[in-house]
């Protein structure tokens, strides 16, 4: 079976240099964009994720190859097959990423990436240790069934990961309009990492933001609602191990104490779901915020009312 190099291996020196460059920019512009403890936690999680990924890759590749054995067609090793594979892999990533925010089982792995209150290039490297355990790779299985060779898919997945690195920054504001329309950009991804009610569970795209526009999950970044980063219940700890497993521990605790008919809900329902409705989900947070916004007149309306009174 054909093999290809992992493009991420070649990108690592570039990652390090770009983080260094962003640190220098932060030093000149705003020192609070970086925090040494947060950066070390992110990078340690990234390093651990690489180790965990390397240890499980053999099994993932074997599974992919086994599924590929039942392929519907033979996809040739041509340039257009790579392009098609890259686009479809990005669609598979969108589906995975959306479920990673909507199903607590998958969120338990993905939350690690969101657990920093900072948004910089080191945040991009804050990756899961438990991706294999949560079976995140199942979202790529349809590609193998279609006939894309595993080596081609994993190569494209590596390129996808590399693309997503540079969008984790506050240094880049907005890109030209046509890029913002098609591609995932720092602006779009800042929205994704924000906990502002308006931005929760939006912009799941990996490379192409068109998936969000197509499936109704797109939200543009606004000047009057600056993103605040992290998770709804901030971690409040720089402990690497706790960052890696805290949601799994939370699931175990909730399932242990829940009544029998509710245990499964803590595994498969959205993060924040509780059987007695005592906790907040992204929907309840957004709904409350929308109700408040509807009850309070907007600034424009207030200005209009003042105008009428003055007249």
């Amino acid at each position: 079976m054909a093999t290809l190099p992992n493009p991420v291996d070649y990108a690592v020196p570039g990652f390090i240099l770009l983080v260094l460059a962003e640190m220098l920019v932060a030093c000149a512009a705003d020192r609070r964009r970086y925090c040494p403890q947060d950066t070390l936690t992110s990078l340690a999680l990234g390093f651990g994720s690489t180790i965990a990924g390397a240890l499980s890759f053999g099994l993932v590749f074997a599974t992919a190859s086994w599924v590929w054995g039942y392929r519907l067609m033979d996809v040739p090793w041509t340039w257009w097959a790579f392009v098609l594979c890259f686009v479809l892999d990005d669609l598979a990533y969108y589906v995975f990423h959306r479920s990673a925010h909507r199903v607590r089982w998958f969120w338990a792995s993905h939350v690690i990436h969101h657990s920093s209150q900072h948004y910089n290039l080191s945040t991009a490297l804050r990756q899961t240790w438990t991706g294999f355990f949560s079976l995140a790779f199942i979202y790529r299985l349809p590609l193998f069934l279609l006939g894309f060779p595993p080596a081609m898919v994993f190569f494209c997945a590596g390129l996808n990961l590399i693309y997503q690195f540079w969008i984790h920054t506050e240094v880049v504001g907005r890109c030209p309009r046509w890029i913002e329309a098609v591609m995932n950009t720092p602006s779009h991804h800042r929205v994704h990492h924000a906990v502002n009610p308006r931005y929760l569970d939006r912009n799941y795209a990996g490379v192409f933001i068109v998936w969000d526009r197509l499936f109704g999950t797109f939200e543009a970044e606004r000047e009057d609602d600056r993103p605040r980063y992290g998770i709804v219940k901030q971690l409040g700890s720089f402990n690497v191990l706790w960052a890696a497993v805290h949601e799994w521990v939370g699931i175990a605790r909730d399932m242990w104490s829940a009544p029998w008919n509710a245990k499964l809900g803590y595994l498969i329902r959205e993060p924040g779901w509780s059987h007695d409705g005592s906790r907040d989900t992204s929907q309840t947070i957004r709904a409350r915020w929308q109700n408040q916004a509807a009850a309070e007149p907007s600034k424009e309306q207030q200005v209009g009312a003042d105008h009428v009174q003055a007249a």
Binding site: D9, R32, Y34, P36, T39, Q234, W242, R288
Partner: protein, 126 residues
């Protein structure tokens, strides 16, 4: 697994951590009442602040809402982090240091350095 790459990555991680310290990145201003109010209102909306006590060093604060909720705020790196406290948190006092148990061992206890007037106020809040 490429061991050379792994070791190189590890060296890169440690080097970047060192550079971040060397450049003195991060840091935070002492907590201010407006900042604390804004933060708890954002995270625990709706939250109408009734009382608040901020430690003399500005590293931690305790806030009480009009509906009785208590929120611990601490400086966590360059940003504040908060915890909603259980009903009646355990409090221990040692001189001017008041330690409030947040019930979350990873978040840690809230350590407030308070003067006498602030300690009286804190007692009234709990």
């Amino acid at each position: 697994m490429n061991w050379l790459l792994s070791l190189g990555s590890l060296a890169g991680v440690l080097a970047l951590g060192g550079v971040a310290r060397l450049l003195r990145l991060g840091g935070s201003e002492p907590l201010a009442p407006e900042q604390v109010t804004e933060r708890v209102q954002f995270e625990y909306n709706p939250f109408r602040v009734e009382r608040m006590v901020i430690g003399l060093d500005g590293r931690a604060a305790l806030v009480r809402a009009t509906d009785g909720r208590l929120v611990a705020v601490k400086v966590h790196g360059a940003h504040p982090a908060t915890r909603l406290l259980p009903g009646a948190p355990a409090v221990t006092t040692c001189g001017d240091l008041v330690v409030v148990d947040t019930g979350d061992r990873w978040f840690g206890p809230l350590r407030l350095r308070l003067d006498q007037a602030q300690r009286d106020m804190l007692r009234a809040m709990l």
